[in-house]
Symmetry: C2
Subunit: 206 residues, 2 copies
DNA sequence: CCTACCGATCGGTAGG
DNA sequence: CCTACCGATCGGTAGG
């Protein structure tokens, strides 16, 4: 009565495809992820592979979700125990730096690469990437607001300005690590963050 | 005696190819710049087009040079009259923000897009991009050092830290403009720069 | 600068 | 999950 492939096997295959896809896409881009190459690396046929996703765009959307899951696990997932407010914000930023420093994914931050690749286009992949970025900024905003309400950051802190500057620090970290292989970059990122969030005196007033 | 195509005509055609190539590449990436599409948009044959460059890689390298020429004209070229030292550094950064704000190239900063696209690869294009980035950082370094020696920035300024943070501000500007179409981003960039370079008191000490 | 052509690869489908 | 196949496009070349 049981099918030759159980549901569990199917899900496992799907996960294998996604893991390999994410590795390829973070190193070579979401367009560089081609069906033929992916099938060859996985030792399966293109048709068998496409059976799991239907089209390349659906695969790309699934890869975006997978990347978000990895980021969620490696950054906010590592600091759940940090006290609310400024300590949590600092812990999240440190986990973010560490995530980039450890090169969890080959080619650095998947979202930086994919966002830069798709920001000039339109369609569902671009929208999904923009949505993930917006969700993450919302997380940051929550932590910043808490830190302000707890008096750990100045009352006149410009929240969006602070988010802007944190994002810039992370983009620069990815840039100097990936293009220059600059091992001093994580230190520079931490120092810049320290200046923004260090002791509550360096905050960004209005 | 004169050839059907003069040297001037040939150079003009070459420039037409480069201008169009740069527009395509900054919007769609250096790999998205395909010979067939470029030839179609220019109303010429692929063979005629390749006659000017030989291979796609040579074309890509020429596009990198062209992008550098545009950046040179639009950023340092616009502030030659600014007084040496901190005023020059601030003028260069303002021209850089303005360059991104005006969207001189469709799709934003060509170098940001191309660098992210090629940072995980090897080869001449990647090396050319890394070289251009290094040259530009050298320019910034010169201006920062002058500002320090003139006493306009603190003596203990960490020059590479300052470059890191300026680059982050510009990467974030490109990110928020291109992905979020956030019209407040230039203001945030200027504010962040003001905090770094504003009045000589916000400098980055060691 | 052109036409005509090459092998390779693209995303995807038919049929099983 | 497979084989076999599709039309389209890729970078590039031969020959003029």
């Amino acid at each position: 009565m049981s099918p030759r492939r159980s549901v569990a096997d199917t899900l496992e295959t799907r996960q294998r495809i996604l893991d390999r896809s994410l590795a390829i896409a973070s190193a070579e881009g979401l367009e560089g992820l081609t069906i033929g190459r992916l099938a060859a690396e996985l030792g399966m046929s293109k048709a068998g592979l496409l059976g799991h996703f239907g089209t390349k765009e659906t695969l790309q959307l699934a890869v975006v979700d997978q990347a978000a899951a990895v980021f969620q696990r490696e950054v906010p997932g590592r600091v759940k125990q940090a006290p609310s407010g400024l300590p949590h914000l600092r812990a999240v930023c440190e986990a973010w730096v560490s995530y980039l420093e450890r090169e969890v994914l080959p080619g650095g931050c998947f979202f930086t690469a994919a966002t830069t690749e798709f920001d000039g286009r339109s369609g569902r992949v671009r929208d999904a990437l923009a949505g993930m970025n917006a969700l993450w900024r919302r997380d940051l905003r929550i932590h910043i607001r808490r830190a302000v309400s707890f008096g750990e950051l100045p009352q006149d802190t410009d929240v969006d300005q602070l988010i802007y500057e944190i994002v810039g620090i992370m983009l620069a970290l990815n840039h100097f690590l990936q293009l220059e292989h600059d091992s001093a970059a994580p230190r520079r990122a931490r120092r810049a963050l320290e200046r923004l969030l260090g002791d509550g005196r360096g905050g960004i007033g209005a």
